[in-house]
Subunit: 761 residues, 2 copies
Amino acid sequence: MLRPSARQYVVARPVYSEDAFAQEHEKIYRQRKTPLDHLRLFFTCNSKRAKNAALSLLPIIQWVKIYQIKEWLLSDIVSGVSTGLVAVLQGLAYCLLASLPVRYGLFSAFFPVVVYFFLGTSRHISVGPFPVLCLMIGSVVTRLVPDTGPPAVNITGFEGLTRDEQRVIVAASVNFLTGIMQLGMGIFQVGFVVMYLSDTLVSGFTTAAAVHILVSQLKFVLGLTVPGLSGPLAIIYTLESIFGQISSTNICDLVTSLIIMVVVFVVKEVNDRYKAKLPVPIPIEVIMTVIACGISYALDFRNRFKVDVVGHIPEGYQAPSAPNLHIFQETAVEAFPMAIVGFAVAFSVAKVYSVKHDYTIDGNQELIAFGTSNIVGASFNSFAASTALSRSAVQESTGGKTQVAGLLSAIIVMVVTLSLGFLLDPLPKSVLGAVVIVNLKGMLMQFRDVVYLWRRDRPDCVVWVGTCLASILLGLDLGLAAGLGVELLSVVIRAQFPRCSVLANIKGTDIYRDRKDFLSIYEPEGVKIFRIPAPLFFANIDFFRSKLVEAIGFSPLRVLRKRNKALRMIRKLLKKGDLKWSAKGFANSSCGPMHDSGDDDEKNLEDLDLPMDFKDLPIKIDWNSELPANISVPRLELHSLVLDFSAVSFLDISALKSLKTALKELIRVEVDIYIVACDTYILEKFHGCAFFDDEVHPSMFYVTLHDAMLHILEKHPESKTEKMLYHDEKVMTTVTVHHPMGRGGSLRSRDKMVPDPETKF
Amino acid sequence: MLRPSARQYVVARPVYSEDAFAQEHEKIYRQRKTPLDHLRLFFTCNSKRAKNAALSLLPIIQWVKIYQIKEWLLSDIVSGVSTGLVAVLQGLAYCLLASLPVRYGLFSAFFPVVVYFFLGTSRHISVGPFPVLCLMIGSVVTRLVPDTGPPAVNITGFEGLTRDEQRVIVAASVNFLTGIMQLGMGIFQVGFVVMYLSDTLVSGFTTAAAVHILVSQLKFVLGLTVPGLSGPLAIIYTLESIFGQISSTNICDLVTSLIIMVVVFVVKEVNDRYKAKLPVPIPIEVIMTVIACGISYALDFRNRFKVDVVGHIPEGYQAPSAPNLHIFQETAVEAFPMAIVGFAVAFSVAKVYSVKHDYTIDGNQELIAFGTSNIVGASFNSFAASTALSRSAVQESTGGKTQVAGLLSAIIVMVVTLSLGFLLDPLPKSVLGAVVIVNLKGMLMQFRDVVYLWRRDRPDCVVWVGTCLASILLGLDLGLAAGLGVELLSVVIRAQFPRCSVLANIKGTDIYRDRKDFLSIYEPEGVKIFRIPAPLFFANIDFFRSKLVEAIGFSPLRVLRKRNKALRMIRKLLKKGDLKWSAKGFANSSCGPMHDSGDDDEKNLEDLDLPMDFKDLPIKIDWNSELPANISVPRLELHSLVLDFSAVSFLDISALKSLKTALKELIRVEVDIYIVACDTYILEKFHGCAFFDDEVHPSMFYVTLHDAMLHILEKHPESKTEKMLYHDEKVMTTVTVHHPMGRGGSLRSRDKMVPDPETKF
């Protein structure tokens, strides 16, 4: 009964094995849902579900109903205009990453936004180009349509097109395919896969992406002509090429970029510091771009300093076109990581804002929204809809309340596309490069995570470094796959090398702790308590078995074989009449020691592993007593082994089989096994997988460790003699030992009861 | 104290929080070994270690010393001769898998065996060609040197060589590289990686390999000319090619093969059944081959039936040659899975025999042995040293005691190579193909594993099927990688969707079980016990948090925000004088309900997530009492939440951060958190990772669930009122409810105390 008097823990109840417990406390029968039931439930259709499904497909219906025109519209307009200006600039700049004419960046900041307006569940993210995704598209584009020479593969429909036109088709087709993948994942409700992209992985991956972006922009900042490379080690070759021609740097480009970088960097810091005081952050990037544009036009940078400028941007949009199926085939492997990365980043940004502003977003609907955005966008030659963190931050911080702000930003972009594009003509590409590089600050700052993780959690640090290095060296798609592999492996490794320990009772309590950690402990003779501190599965079951053998100090299989050999010999001697059985025990008829002739040593080797069979012998032999005819077998002090299963959260079939073998070997040498604190579901699994048989009984399960111990003490009253454990003297001198309860015992030297695995056999 | 009287569980001790426990039971200070210590230990050198290292590098020294010439030599000779005959035959047959001239198969059954004789630790395996490995080599060989046309890549050193010579160079070079990898793994002691190849994975993989082997041998059995293909879907194209020309089947080949297959199959079954009675299994394959050879010679199969025969085998060995470095580059990715598979299979076979015959084998030394065997063998143009299960079974079952038998089998092979090769000239290749196919029986029988696994363990079944399908369709190397990925994912998934449960006290005990499972339970008001039944890491922490919110029935962050908003309003009203504080409580000065104007709703949104700050208020507000000015905030019945951490075996940094956020939110709405049964190492990790701060205290840890509960009951005496839980009526009627202890309570309808997450907010 619960008697919480004076902070005392008092319990009096019967000792429970799992069987006894189940008998006394009958379980309520609960019907479990089968996978079929889940499926049926999933496909059940009624009017409410149908209405909900329809509503969830068009989230705009829900938020338009609650749109507070008076309070929200003004904020949305301010936010929309600010975001629109940034979107124009980023659209142009990120186009350089994708190795496409800048015009298409404006498309990407328009079409996806409009589609997302209707389908998206996040109210605060700014949809459009995302630098990492642009870079991934750029790597496909330069692989299929290199800077020099013919396209890498023969693609139907490329005949008679310019290099840029070919590239646009490649980018649009890849984007279309990405959209199909996202839409498919959304429809099949598998958005949960982004769960596997842990924060650590994403941090390592985006840091690597930032390095790639930095390197890819160097050529614009330095005004060099560097071929776009892709594939493993491309970054090394690119750097090689850049440093090979570093002497031909265009000084005008370099100076322009440096000025812009410094100014933008400083003003952004100011924006950050006085966030609370500024009504709207200073749009320094836009201002600097406009100034640079003006100066470049006034001083004629293009002709005077041979600066690479944006050049003529054709006005207006292009008619929609179908994607190229041949390109689908060529890029399927690359489109998948793009679909994942694009969605994962957008979703994580959206999640942050949804928590902040307290509304729910729906992962699968987001997938559908981005998938459709990409498909529609790709038909109009836009690319890579996701979200840029910096742009979303602008939209949210300038007061954006809903995607109305996003729609307005798209309108700003449209105005530029339709009629103001000519103003951008003299803009040096180095300015765009500088803007991209400055925006990398946040991503590159993630390098600090390494130090943090190294101090806190080594495996996570390895995942970060592994993902980052692989993504830098192998490229982003392969790097992501490698990072995922390392991450999954890290989980397995965490579970794989657990610190097994032998427990002992803390005197005067029902608590059991590692026997090496405490002085005032009680360990009955012949009992070992072994704690398994991790789930058991194929990769750690052997490790656990070897630790168990180490803990008990002998190999049960070897002991069993020796006993069976001894049994064989006794049987032979009895048959020959050399040995007689009397009431007092065995008596040798002939004198002198007898030896096993050894001639049948290798015969019927398998029989030695079977349980001992006493049926044709007069008595059951006590192996720890003196044996007749000088037969010697190792003595076992151990009569009971308790396995603490409390931390075993799952068990696979390899572990189950191997565990059964291990237990059988122990049972055959007459060690009683007790499994305690086993999870209900694991117990059910034991029953379902034919774990029990003539030798392994379900009666070995006990509710708690203390229950099993009490049962053992009752069964083996001789064990109650207390036994003090050996402690290293060096340790003793370094700690002060308190025995506040006055129950501390004296210390003896290493107890004889603990068999030494090395000397005994 | 332990009082095991009359099977009663009686405990009386103080209630322990982890802090109290640590104070009363001081821990012994143990110096943990740092990684540096391990490294130092690893590189410590003394004479004993040096001697042991030298000895372990040449295991032959150890077993030669104990070699019992009288008893072992005869067995070894019998075994060696039998194994030698099988080795000759398998050497020839497996060469067909590797798409090489049959002569080189004999080399492979000689050189590696001799090297292994000196370096290997297993006494029973028969080293030499392994069909799966041969097939993998064959796929590299046909990729680089196709049946028709020039080599796939321009390789230096190929000029002026015949196709077969080029292939031999490729095979030898790949093998050399494999050897280097194995040797490297052995030296760096990373043999444990084979641990990741679970039985399930290996079973699925070898079954797929058997299918590949079967398909590859069809052309020999049918006497067709099919180009060797490799890469994804190669098996489909090969089958297409075979069935395209099925009408040109060579009937003589087909009949010969069928006869051989049937006879060998039947006699092998007989061998199996009368294993105990036969002194040596009937070497039926050798007998049939000799007969087929004779008949083919007598009837002149080659010319009369256009049967493809082995043809002239040049006698003697070739001079050693260096591997081709260019091929290393081309095949590095393929050599790695070969190194792993070759070693893993040999090691697992060796392990079985080492357990049976009770000696130890050393994984890393085995890697060194196989690595050296491959390197030396490759220098003499042999390939793919591992072990074939069937051949090892012959060596062990015919009485082989040590590698002396292996050496003798190598001598038999040498005799054939040097002087008897001409006898094999008329042997039809279809006979070899038939022998290979018959030997697949064991591997193909593994298909039965699918049914077994489906019944016992679904995730394992998925791993099997995934590995097998991927290996069949993508090829063995990619398939192995994919299978490994699925396997690692299966471990993560097992840990990822645990069945969280809310526990309740089983009346009259200190035992806590799932409240839905039992009737006679006790659940104090305002207390929830939540069990986390799995390790916490990035992939399941969100799942766990949502389950926790579901269990407690409200979102703490939302409650906190509402309370903070209410606080803001109270403060404003107090300031304006609309609200006055008197000893009795708050009193409205103005009449009528007041509403939050909502104008500062969106301002300082982050402030709402901070802890409530009462410092400028006269009293701490009791949120569950009537609030002034008609302000309403949700009432919380929950005052204490207990998290059962007993099954949390590890915790990564993402989980730690997220857990801290979750706990903070709860603490800020004045819910007391108790974490119970937390592992010592996880507790240390909490301390090491700055988990604790002003709000999250280490005092929340309790030794057992019951300790925490007793503490809570003392702190909240009002909770002691018993509360019966709602149980679904349908459930009630299907079970008989016993209350042997007479403590069962009555049933009420759904308790009001359990807040409904949907209606409340």
